[in-house]
């Protein structure tokens, strides 16, 4: 059973890694924040699967992660939304 959950964790991590492409290519800040959010959710899912598989402390880590990824994603979205940011970052874009 634990091994099966571990394989599920491997698949979820692989899928989250695919989300990395969007992080790398994402034309705009919005796409990058979304990729960050996907990592937050995916990371929490991987930790839950590890936690149920035996390392019970992983559930607490997932709890902290879920709480803080909300905080970080919101802060990134707010700052990316500010007029000054887009204009300043627009110039910096490759």
């Amino acid at each position: 059973m634990a091994d099966l959950l571990l394989w599920a964790a491997v698949i979820v991590l692989a899928l989250t890694a695919a989300g990395l492409l969007r992080l790398l290519r994402g034309p705009g800040a919005a796409d990058r924040i979304m990729a960050g959010q996907l990592f937050g959710t995916g990371g929490a899912a991987v930790l839950l699967l590890l936690g149920a598989g035996g390392a019970y402390a992983a559930i607490d880590v997932a709890l902290t992660l879920a709480l803080l990824s909300a905080f970080v994603s919101l802060t990134f979205a707010v700052y990316a939304g500010r007029a000054g940011t887009r204009q300043a970052l627009g110039r910096g874009e490759e």
Partner: protein, 314 residues
Amino acid sequence: MMAGLVLDGLLALLVLAVAAWTIGVCQTFAATVGFTVYGLLLAVVWMRLAAPDAALTEAAIGALTGVLLLRAAIQLAPSEAGLNRLRPALKLRLLAGTLAFAITATLAAVVFHLPEPAPTLVPQVTAQQASTGLGNAVTAVLLAFRAIDTLLEAVVLIFALVAVWSLAPDAAWGGIPGAQIKGGSGDVRAYLSRLLPPVGIVIAFYIFWVGADFPGGKFQAGTLLAAMGLLATMAGLIQPPPVASRGLRWALVLGTLVFLALGLAGMPLAGAFLAYPEGWAKPLILLIEAASMLSIGVTLGLLVIGYPAGQAEQ
């Protein structure tokens, strides 16, 4: 066990990919997002290394560092935009690359030549752990066997905050730390900033309480409190107290004072500095943890908010 190795391999590759990308990408905002993702992945790596306390700390501190770097990136964006397109000379990059490769190769060699009967302090810790009454070995090390490190670490945090505050321009000294944040916008963001902090505080106290016997503890709980405070502050719902306020300064040093007082009390009562009288270890440790959790939370939050900039500059 195969699944474990595949998971670890994928994790290591992912961590390195995100780290390399964070170094390579031109745009600072993207690098900050990459660094936050890197912190998340590192928390999972710490779980795979059977260090749940470190995973909790990494997840919490990673979030604070991400926000800290983002705020700095936004403020420095105009002046640093010009530097974005500057590609350092090829010569410099080659030299840096060889140095980095040399460091990595040496460390890799060390990894392969570690002493075979791996040195460990587990027997000593487990032997003495019963006297502290704590189930969590890491908390026992942090607050009983190596209490002096934790005490000095709390002092280092206060020094860091004093140093950050001392950067304030003279006109703004004693004022409200951080840039003046306009009033809470009534939109969805204020909704979450009102909803999360109570939940976060309950989770922080849970993480603190569970830290005695299971992974958790005051550092992780303090960081969560700091994150919730920041969330409310950045939404403009609360304002950090001015630097000059007495209450704030007491809150900052409370944890260290309690730690120091109990440590000194240990000398007459238990024969040595930072020693706990027989049977009293757990309650005293929990008292110290409670006090330093609040102090660490306030200190870390104010470290992110930064020095009082006053109206002139922002």
